[in-house]
Subunit: 362 residues, 2 copies
């Protein structure tokens, strides 16, 4: 038993701002004196409606979401979005183009193949997804119903250094592991979706931000819950939503606003990541396999080149109160996920530990 | 602002045991000294695996779930189950028989019609769902792939006084609003599902308890997330589950165990409901429209016969710290949902208030 909180480098679920957690704890039995826990509130009560509306409003503010975009809170995570995207957006030609930059991008494409004619227009798999392919407008099929990208690749530690030009073809982006870490021109996308468990809230919802004119094309055979229109028309309360995660998400949106907004979060994230990458690049023991221009600010992957030593690193780090530094179970190595809520002190502590470990394992 | 907790009669989300809430609050920033909040834990960490395994084990214990049944925690609530049931269980004839005993039963049947040949074998709609139809084995189509019932009807306050005999046809039951309120012979059912937001946990998961031989029949065109086999084979962690709700569910299962199990909860529920129904039946102002033998122990509906007076009742009750006594928005009147976590004192307070209101509104 310890009263000390760890630096949790998990790729998701992951750290939340401690001020948000402490406020939630203080209000857990009786939210703002209303006599109920948010966990117990009717989703149709005035109290919860205020929570939901505030959450949406604050998200719109901090991401500058244009008025012609709907915001939806949907259960089922990214995995359900992988199905909802083709089931709703394959509306004319039945064709969609995917860029495959990692495990999740590949899974998204594979899921879409159940529902239409899917083309992988570019992939970096031949190089273990260590870079983001450069794709030009003419690489996409002219009649594609949409183009899908994974904007930040949690497992491989890459991030698009550009937004692909798809012309009039709606661009769909999975932003699960980078949403709210940087400013985004939402109008460049037809649909942005993100599981909340990395940068926003406890697991159990995905947020979908969708241009209105793209909503309403699901066929009648699409399950009701998988039709974006149902969620859009009912302000995410067609059925009982994940009220508690929406509440925490709303608190995190407020926290970001108070911290100076997404631009300020981005500045902090650039500083945190630069420190860590600079140390890795200058070290004799650690190596980051990712192309410099495509490196993620959120997920920093590195290896020693010795799988046994990597395991030792992860185990010793845990003893030093730095949790979940293991790479994804599919690739091994190390990964430090340093989302918005990871304090700069956590990155500093990690670098200090890495130095010490390097000295001890020369 | 008040430090007093309300008696919350919401149909769901609804009250949780105060001991569970207080324990969750105390552990919210640092779960049992592990350095992380449950809201922040990797779903693949040893800590969360223990939470998940304990939750399943305790649920199996208190419901006496046979070994040949899988337990799954799935996002999307009852609404997603309405689609998953036909998408997985219409596996031979493509036919299923539904008994329609309320709004949710009707919605379940309507959703199933997207996927197969659905027959409504009985309905109490002609009588505003005020009773449960008696259905015999020969009422079902011999080649039906399954029969679906809604065991407790949240909106209309009814509950099956019997388990329909379906012979070899698997019986599927939505138990969202009565699960864990009474002992159940699970082996009589092919699949039991329940949204957790009434008797178990904060909203955001449904629990599915499914006979193993019925798993694995989803067609390839079924979205991955909607295939029970994916959840069963991956112990509910194919993707990131709603970890926090699973944690609270596990705490509630432990609480029920400590309280003496489901049989003891049932005894308490019978006592609470009997008190309230007896008062209503003996009163001059209130009336319960439900056939006596079919009344729910969980959702007690009543009316004054005057819609304006009903509204006044609900508003004055709220001022007296009794929340959400309004009937469902589709039917009006009053409804007191008295799930496991509603203390007997809450029912006593409600009856006292009803007496006073009756005196004042003669």
């Amino acid at each position: 038993m310890s009263n000390e909180r760890a630096y949790n480098f998990s790729a998701g679920p992951s750290m939340l701002p401690i001020s948000v957690i402490e406020d939630a704890a203080a209000n857990l039995a009786n939210y703002k004196g209303c006599g109920e826990s948010v966990m117990e509130m009717s989703h149709r009560s005035a109290e919860f409606k205020a929570i939901l509306e505030d959450a949406e409003k604050n998200l719109r503010d901090i991401l500058s979401i244009p008025d012609n975009y709907k915001v939806m809170f949907i259960q089922g995570g990214g995995t359900l979005q992988f199905a909802m995207v083709p089931m709703n957006l394959l509306r004319k030609s039945g064709k969609a183009d995917y860029i495959v930059t990692g495990t999740w991008a590949k899974k998204a494409a594979k899921e879409a193949e159940k529902f239409g004619d899917i083309k992988i227009v570019a992939s970096s798999e031949e190089s273990t997804f260590s870079y983001i392919p450069k794709v030009k407008r003419e690489d996409f099929r002219a009649d594609a119903d949409y183009v899908h990208i994974t904007y930040n690749n949690t497992i491989y530690g890459t991030h698009y250094p550009y937004i692909p030009d798809t012309g009039d073809i709606p661009l769909v982006a999975d932003m699960s592991s980078c949403i709210l870490s940087e400013e985004i021109d939402v109008s460049r996308f037809g649909l942005i979706y993100a599981g909340v468990q990395k940068n926003i809230a406890p697991s159990g919802i995905a947020i979908a931000i969708m241009r209105e004119d793209l909503i309403g094309f699901a066929k009648e055979t699409v399950p009701t819950y998988l039709d974006y229109k149902i969620h859009a028309d009912n302000d995410s309360t067609y059925n009982t939503p994940n009220c508690f995660a929406i509440y925490i998400a709303g608190e995190v949106f407020k926290y970001i606003k108070e911290m100076g907004g997404v631009a300020q979060m981005h500045k902090r994230n650039v500083e945190k990541a630069a420190k860590l990458y600079d140390f890795i690049d200058s070290s004799s023991l650690y190596k980051c396999p990712v192309a410099k221009e495509d490196r993620s600010l959120m997920n920093v992957v590195f290896v020693t080149g010795d799988a046994e030593l990597d395991k030792k690193f992860v185990a010793e780090a845990k003893k030093n109160n730095m949790h979940n530094l293991n790479g994804h179970r599919s690739i091994g190595g190390m990964r430090a996920s340093i989302y918005n809520a990871m304090p700069a002190e956590g990155v500093d502590a990690l670098i200090e530990f890495m130095k010490k470990f390097q000295e001890e394992n020369k």
